[in-house]
Each structure stands twice: as structure tokens, then as C-alpha cells.
Symmetry: D2
Subunit: 346 residues, 4 copies
């Protein structure tokens, strides 16, 4: 094994990133070294690549990008007992402290001291990555590498779609990006009566329909409220899954949400916006769940159960594959809106 | 319309029942008269027919038997606004008071003053039945009469199977009578990772497998515990659905239930039995849900959603059909254990 | 008994109201006639009196004002069985349909067909009021009339304060109007670790402190965020009870709410406002409960339990008493901000 | 500091224990060394001292007894960051693995690999104890040592009493041992409407009344069912807290539990017994919570909140204090039934 590896490095504060040869990371006594087999692209990676205001405030270059991966454990620290060399794993991207009040009460996913790989420390757009052993999630050996790489992001979809029961209920999902597309699979697997979806990309609306969406609406061309009230006999939906972060989608979603209904919000608005909290939430007796990350490790267990039981198959979610060397093309593809999940192979 | 109708009447305190010509019931201002199109048989009907100790203590003959039905509303009282003549309906069999503390706090299914049709007042093994309008549940006109008749009993299955989340989880269901068989469909529709089942009838185990059971175990010939621990890597199951009422099945079920797991108990043991509450429930941190009836009307909405969304199809549950005139043959078939649901047509 | 009675009537679309002599209402077969013993004033009554935009859109004069009352049942319709002449009662002000999907699934408090007394039909600022029997809530005979009149509004406080567990937790309550003041009593009774409150009225902050608030903050003179973070070691509060409807209070409240915390929102903002849903709710993994009315009848049972067990004493909440004839003075007192609850006696 | 310390050692498989001089334990890199300031006695300690069948099957002498303690951290391993020398702490007695499926999903209290101090490894009836740093719970410096020692056991009471909401509800608690006594304080602090209790010890019934029990019943002299139904107008109680493990108390408790009610079971029956699961749990729609240990660390936070907010004061729970040298007298006192909590000081 050589001492260096290829890695996509954000070298400076500004747009872009470079493929560099860098040292293979060293591991501490409770860490593992993972040889990356596949790594997928998240919207956050795009923000960092393009250097949006959020990135400028959070990222300290130089840093290796990427936080979604699968790979093989090739080395373990001396105190590691939970995994072994040779294990095929996905990774939880949030490295948490384990001792704050949130970690100690089942809220590790919003730990006060979270470090995210590819954001706060070196990530996985590389041949290797070092991680705390507890962040490694053992996958079945027969899971394809590109599916294993999706597990972290799939966890977001599972977290959101299971935040409130959908079984037998009518669901509106606003936003069909990769997390939204996976949430369709989860809601369908969990027994939703109907899954109405909205998005502005025809590509994604088509994909949504193939994945089981009952009705796919383009709000730039159709009237979401009219359609939803029509198909629900004027009652509206029981559950809103908000994946877009777009103020208009959020407003439409709450508007057609039945009184007493529940909304799980995952999409992040880019800034504060005018919202009718009184009429859309309070008077209607709505319950709202803010969804951040994945529950440690309840979400991971649920995600595994959904897949191993055959209720969810993520294969159609991966629409594009690239070599890591072609990371710029891969990021472009992701940015186009005409893709599901984009996976790269080192 | 004649003034009399055919009805299966429990004429006296003792085994048996007779087909009689009786007056068509009259309705009050808030009642409806339903022309029965199909009526299905429940285990309780068998107990009443055979006159077991429970029946002897509860039933006051003469009484028309039966509590599962579908039919058409042919008359409504003057104060009825929620349904109309011509509506095709199923019926909630529990007539509740609406004013006791339980009714007033979402527990109408265990109302202090419940009257059950076919048990405490005249039932539906007949050409007509009178019911409070609020007990009528409007079905879609395209639902087959025999499926509509199953809705009440299907509600038991829905109530039990959704008492605790099964999505992504491993479930053991002990007892594959009709309610158990329907619970397989619900658990599968709700995203269970695996549904292991036990029963002593080969007929029902085969039917269970056809309906989606992962493994079907006959505890008289196989070791339930060994099998379950083997297929779960020694971990046991997350959820127990107990549908048999058999002490040995209950014990086996709790034995293979994971610490921190949940059990929904619907099957009624015939009498008190020796149970290791300390080791099987307390030390393991188990949550147990006693399941009686159907939640009014949450369960009915969930049941509708599961069927209208296509997640559950009850067609294969109806294995035998009879004319109401052949009620004795129908009851025998049900008693044999070699059936799913048995439906009769007046 | 005369055929007419005194009543405070909103006679026309515009500010003001008049004391009139009007017919005593007649009752239907399922109604009761209540002789009002005490009636209290709600913020809504002020809006109607002053004729704000909401009132102009909702109220159809002439109508008798008022929806909080206690009184004695003096007549019952022929079908009434749940209460009797002579019963001392409070009243649920929401008259619900009982048959819509919301009523049928435990959400009667947000029934699709709600009629509110004093808003959509004649109210209780009068000597008598007719109501459906099911809206009458029997009080213990030893409960003072002015306390019994508060039960409906107390229900709002109970609904909000018990929406999420406060036991052992730090609570921030923004807004110390009468509902807020009563919510202090509930949160304290339910074992809150600390109850920090904010308001802009010195009178109400003082009353809040007397009722058990840990710290009372005037955000026009003090920095809410600094104070809360200081007293919570930088952690923030576990629970937010929002009773003011003021955008600045809502923002401050969410700002100091701990990640993973819960907010119950009852105060109604007068219009949409700019809100940072992304940073204040989604990223923090917050759960938000919109609170409307009172759960039928869970909230009423909880309210009774809190009072009968001695955990809550509403006596200090009633700060002013008037004859009904002095309704204009009573409304002025309520409008001043220098009061707790104002009660009138016909 | 000397190299040895006093410790109460279970020296052999059989009744009794001896005060011995033993080496002060050594700590690993993630451990702390605690100088014990107070240690309290649990029923389990009595079982081990007397060598009952459970002890014979579980305990491997020689072992230092005891698992409830408070003390000062006097040394920390090199990797410890969560606590410091000088911190005053209580201790969670369950040392858990952190990596099993139960630990990873919020069920660490029932970890598959739990080691309990004083049971599976050396305990705290000694001058010093070594523990993983994560088992140390920092107390406020002003908390008396004997109160701090009670925290672990108080956690059992908190876990049970908060398993289901008691606010505004009628509670029956069967069994007034120390955990039961503390549960009275918790239920009262959490707003219970009434707390009826049963026990066979007059001493403990009197103590229960002083701590706030509404009615204290001796079932050997009084009819529990008659009394409970009388004081609840025939309705029964909303919540059962079972702390005795006595089959007759368990049966009585479920018998007077309202339909739809909830039971938290903590007391361990000594063996399986005949139980009417059908009539007492299933038909009544009861929810049962098995309570083991304390939730890590939700229960500890709740316990702290209840005390720091002033809602619970454990002072009256400590009825007897001894020097550790007098451990045999202390154990006798505990065994007599005429005590609350017994604390020893090294």
C-alpha cells in the first residue's frame, strides 16, 4: 500500500475543487481506515463546490470533500472491537461527541458538537477515509457498493418519511430531489394510501411516477391546491413531507394539509420567508417535525429493515455513475436537476 | 316489502340455532334499516352456537345471531343526516353510549355501556338489521359485498397490527385464524421486514405463506424458539402479534421477543394461566398492548386507506361462501380450522 | 319565569354592543337551557366588541356575545339523558358535528363544521343560553361560579401546557395574558423544573411571578435571549409555550429553544410574518404543536383532575368581577392589560 | 493515599459478607476512581447477602457488594474528558456496551451485555470504586451525599412513574418500599390527581401518607378493590404503578385499573404465577410497560429536573444512617420493612 491517495480537495475559499495526491489518513486507537468503494454526491457537496454563502461561513479549506460512502475496512485502531478488517461498511457522516445532553438523550443526530465529514473534517471523495469505528455501519456483503454509498442519504429519507405514521394515509411530498425520490419508496413501503408529489423538473417528476408516486404535479404549470383538493374530495392530505425548501411549496403544502395533520420538514429554505403560522399551523392544529440528519441509530436499523425485507429497492435511484477522476462531470450532472443519485468510484 | 324476514335465531339457552321467520325490525329516529347483502362468521358466533360457558353467562335468547355484515340502507329515521337510503355500508358491531368517560376520551371501542349486535341485541344473520345510523360505515359502491362484510373483523386485524410500528421490523404472529391472516396482510403492507407465523393447522399455515408470511411454523412439530432465534441471529423479533389466545403460544412469543420490544395481544386465553411476568415482560422492558375491538373510527379510516391505496387486498381471505339457509354447514366449515373467512348470503 | 331576558347583543356590523331584552331561547329535544351564573371575557370578545377585521369577516349580527360560562340547567329536551335539571355546569363553546372525519378520529376540537357560541350563534353574555346537552360539562356543586366560568378558557391553557411533557423540564412561556397565566399553573402542577415567562405588561409579569413563574422578563426592557441562555448555562429551554402571537416573541422563543425541543403555539399572529423555519425549526429538529381549542374531552378531564387533586387553584386568576349590566366597564378592564380574568354576573 | 481500602466483600457462595481490607482498584484510560462518600442499600443487596436462588445463579464471589453511591472523583484515566478530579458524582450502576442493537437505539438500560456493579463486578460498599467515566453523573456540589447516593434508585422510581402520563389522573401504587415511596413523590410532583397506595407494612403506609399518598391501604386488613371503586365512583384508576412483585397486588391492581388504562410494572414476582391476561389486560385494552433500570440518560435528566426545580425533595426518604462498618445492622434495618432508605458512610 502506497502512502498517498487521490482525493478531491477544496483547496481554497472559492468555487471549484481539485484532484490531488494526498497522504493516506492515519487512524487513532478507536478509528478505522476505510478503502472507499463508492461515494455519492449530495446537494451539500454542490454548495461547497460552488462556494455559496453557507459554505463560505462554514468550510475551512483545504479539506477533502464528500460525506456519502461505502467501502471496506482495511485497518482498525487497537481499541476497536465493533468492526473488523474486511467488513464492508457504510458510514454515518456525523461524528458526535457522545457526552452532551443531546447525545445522552437519544438526540445524537443533533449533537451540540457534531463534526461532519467533508464539511468540518476530511471527507470521502478519496481512495481512503479515516473514521471513528462507531461511525461504521456494517452492510451485508451482497449489497452493491453504489447502494451502500446511498445509505447515509437514504437515512434522511427514512427519518423524514417515518417521522409520523403514513400507513393508510394520503401524503403530499413537495420536492423530488434524491431524498424526495427515496422518500417515495419509503412512504409506499410503509403503506401510504396515496403519495402525491410536486417538483419543477420534468425528469424528476417522471422518475417519481416510476417509483410509485400516485400523482406528479409541476406547480409552475398546474395548480397544486386544486389538484389535491379534487383528488381528496376537498379533505386535503394527512401528511406533508417537505423536501424542497421552497417557500411556495411549503405554503402550498400546509395549505392542503388536513386539520390535525402532520408535516415533516427536511428541505432547507435559503433564508427566512413570510409564513402564515396562525392560519396554516396553529388554527389547524398541525404538528410539525423539523428533520435533521438521521436518528442514531434507529433510522439506520429502519433503513436496513426496509431494504432487507424487500420493501424498498434503491437500485432505480442511482441514475448516473462516474469515475472519481470525473468528479467535475459528476457534480455537473447532479446540478442539472436531470438525475437521481450520482455515484462515483475511486 | 313483506313484514317478516328470515333470521338465524338462537332460540334457547343451549347448543344450536334455528332459521326462523321473524318481524323485520323497526327503526327509531336516529336508526337505519339495512338490507343485508353478506354476513361473515366470527369465532364468537361459533361459541354462541355451541353455547360455551362465556355464551351461557352473556347471551339472553331468543336473539338473532351475527355481527359482521354489509348491506344497503333501505330506510332511515327522521333525524338521520350522515347516511342515505341507497348507501352501501358495513357496520361497526359495537353500539356505544357516546357519553361515558371512555367514549369521551377516544376509547369508545371499550365503552362502559357497549352493546354488541348478535350478542347483546339482535344481529345480522338475517335479511335485515336495524342499527344506529352512526354505526353505518359507507363503503365504495364497487367493493364486493363479501369483502365489505369483512370490514369489522378486518378492523381487529388493523387495530392489532398497527398498535405498534412494524415498519422495517421483524414480527412474530402467533395464530393464523382469519384475524391473524388479515394481520399478515396489514403487517406486510405496513413495511414489516419479516412476518414469522405459527399455527397448528396446516391449512392455515399454507394460506399464511400465500399471503406473505416469511416463515410458517407448526409448534406441535417444530421448535418455535429455535427457529426464530436462528433466523434472527439470536436477537429475536421486534414485535409480537398474539392472535391465538393459547398459553403456550403466548409464552413462546414473549420468549423470542427482543428486550424493549412490543406485543399486541388480541387472542383471548380461555382462562387464567401461569405466566412469567417478571422475566418475560418486566426485566425485558417490554410494552404490551391489550387489543379489544376497533378504535372508533381511527381503525376504520386506516382500514379503508390500506385497501383503497392497494396495499391490502382481502379477496384471498374469503375461502368459503354459503347461502344463509346453509348456516349450519357454514358454521361447521368455520369450526373445522380448514378455512379462511366464511361468508353467507341471505 | 318571564319570556324574556337581558343579553349583551352585537346589534350591527361595527364597534360596540348593547344590553337588550330578548326572548329566552327555546330548546330542541337534545338541548339544555342553562341559567347563566357567571360569564368571563375572552380576547375574542374584545375583538368582536371593537369589530376588528377578523370579526367583520366572521360575525353576522345581531348576535348575543360571549362563550365562557357557568350556570344551572333549568330545562332539558326530551331526548337528553346525560345531564339533569339542577346540574351545575360549564360549557364547551365549540358545537361540533360529530360525524366528520375529524370528529370521528379524536379531533373534534377542529371539527370541519364547528359552530362557536357568541361567534357563530347566540352566546352567554345573557341570563340564559340554550346548548346541545353534550356541550354541558357537569361541575362539582362546590365550585365557585366564577371559577366554573373559567373552565373553557382554562382548557386552552391545559391543552397547550400538556401538549408536550414538561415534567422536570425548563419551559419558556411567551405571553402572560389569562391563558398564559393559567398555563403557568398547569406547567408548575405538571412538574416543570423552571417556568420563564415574558410579557410587556408589568401588571401581568407581577401576577405571573405570584403564580409561580421562575423569572419574569419584559422584552421591551430586557434581553430575553441573554437572560435565558445565562440561566440555562447556554443550553436553552426544553419547551416553548407561545401564548402571545407576537412575531418577536415567537422568534425569541424558538431562538432559545434547545435542539430537539418542542413548542406549543397557541397565540395567533395577526398576519403572516417573516420566519426562519430553516434555522429555527428544521436544523434544530424541533417539534411544533399548533394548539386550537380544547381536546374533546380529554382536556376537560385533565383540567378537572388538576383542580380536584389540588394541583391547580384558579382563584387568583380572577382579578375583576362586574355585574353583566356593567359589561362595557368589564370589557375596558380586560382591554387595559391590567387584569387577569374578568368575570361578569347576570 | 494508602494502597488498600475497607470493603464489604461477599467472600463465598452462601449467606453473609465480611468487611475486608482489599487493594484500591486501578483504573483504565477511560475510567474514573471515586472516593465513596455515601452508599445506600437496595433490595438486591439483601438478596445477595442472604444468598437467595437468584444470587446463587448470578453472583460469582468474591465480590465487593453495593451499587448505589455518591462520591468524589479522585483520579481519571488519560482519555477521560467528560468529568474531572474533584467532581461530586452519583453513578449509573449498569455498565453497558454501547454497541449492541439495544444500546444503539435508545435502550441502553436493557443492553445485551450489561454488567452491574456489586453484582457482576466489584461494587461500592467500600472506600473507593473504579468505574467507566461515562457512568459518572455529576451532581450539584450542594447536594447532600446521602441524597446523591439515592439517585440511581430514585431513577427507578422516576422511570416507572413517568412511563405513562399521570398528570390529572388517579394512580394506584401497589408496594411502598423505597422505590414506591419515591414514586409517590414523583407522581405528586407530576400532577397526579390522587395517589392511592397499598402495602403490608404499617411503617411504610404511614411514611407513604406523610409523603403525599391520598389513601394508604393495607390489603391484609382492608379490601383494596372496594376502597378504590368507592373513592373513584366505580370507575377505577387511570394508572397502576406496581412496585411489589406480589401476585395478589398485581391482580388487585389490574382489577381496579380502568379500561384503556396503563400499568407500569417494576416489582419482580419471585416466580411465574396464574394471571388472567384475557380479562385483565386484553379485554380492557390496557397498556403495560415493563420497567427495568433507568433510561440512559433521559431518566437521569428528568430526576435532576424534578429535584432542582423543587418539585421533589428526597430528604424524608432517608430514614436511617450507619457507618459502613455497621453494614450488618444496616442490612438488618433494611430487611425489617420498618425503614425508608438506609444509607451507609465509609
Amino acid at each position: 500500500m502506497s502512502n498517498t491517495m487521490k482525493a478531491v480537495v477544496k483547496t481554497h475559499a472559492g468555487p471549484g475543487a481539485e484532484m490531488r495526491q494526498v497522504p493516506i489518513p492515519r487512524i487513532g486507537p478507536r478509528d478505522v481506515l476505510i478503502k472507499v468503494r463508492a461515494t455519492s454526491i449530495c446537494g451539500t457537496d454542490l454548495h461547497i463546490f460552488k462556494w455559496d454563502p453557507w459554505s463560505a461561513g462554514r468550510i475551512h479549506p483545504p479539506i477533502i470533500m464528500g460525506h456519502e460512502l461505502s467501502g471496506e475496512i482495511v485497518d482498525v485502531g487497537k481499541d476497536v472491537t465493533s468492526v473488523r478488517v474486511g467488513d464492508f461498511v457504510s458510514a454515518e457522516s456525523h461524528i458526535v461527541c457522545g457526552v452532551c445532553d443531546l447525545c445522552r438523550t437519544g438526540n445524537g443526530h443533533i449533537c451540540r458538537n457534531t463534526q461532519i465529514i467533508g464539511v468540518d473534517r476530511d471527507g470521502c471523495f478519496a481512495e481512503y477515509i479515516a473514521l471513528p469505528a462507531e461511525n461504521a455501519w456494517i452492510d451485508p456483503p451482497d449489497m452493491p457498493a453504489e447502494i451502500a454509498a446511498l445509505q447515509e442519504n437514504f437515512g434522511n429519507a427514512v427519518h423524514a418519511a417515518l417521522a409520523t405514521p403514513v400507513v393508510g394515509r394520503k401524503v403530499l411530498m413537495t420536492g423530488c430531489g434524491p431524498v424526495g425520490l427515496m422518500a417515495i419508496l419509503v412512504a409506499r413501503a410503509a403503506g401510504a394510501r396515496a403519495i402525491y408529489v410536486t417538483d419543477v423538473s420534468e425528469y424528476r417528476l417522471n422518475l417519481a411516477k416510476q417509483l410509485g408516486a400516485t400523482i406528479a404535479i409541476d406547480p409552475t404549470r398546474e395548480n397544486t391546491q386544486k389538484i389535491i383538493f379534487d383528488v381528496t374530495n376537498g379533505e386535503g392530505v394527512d401528511v406533508l413531507l417537505e423536501m424542497s425548501g421552497a417557500p411556495s411549496a411549503i405554503r402550498d403544502g400546509f395549505d392542503v394539509l388536513k386539520k390535525g395533520g402532520a408535516a415533516a420538514l427536511l428541505g432547507l429554505p435559503s433564508k427566512p420567508f413570510e409564513f402564515d403560522l396562525g392560519n396554516l399551523v396553529i388554527m389547524k392544529g398541525i404538528t410539525v417535525f423539523g428533520i435533521a440528519g438521521r436518528k442514531l441509530w434507529d433510522t439506520w436499523y429502519a433503513a436496513r429493515g426496509l431494504q432487507r425485507g424487500g420493501a424498498v429497492d434503491l437500485t432505480p435511484i442511482v441514475t448516473h455513475k462516474f469515475k472519481l477522476d470525473d468528479f467535475e462531470k459528476a457534480l455537473e450532472t447532479m446540478a442539472s436537476g436531470n438525475s437521481g443519485k450520482v455515484v462515483m468510484f475511486p
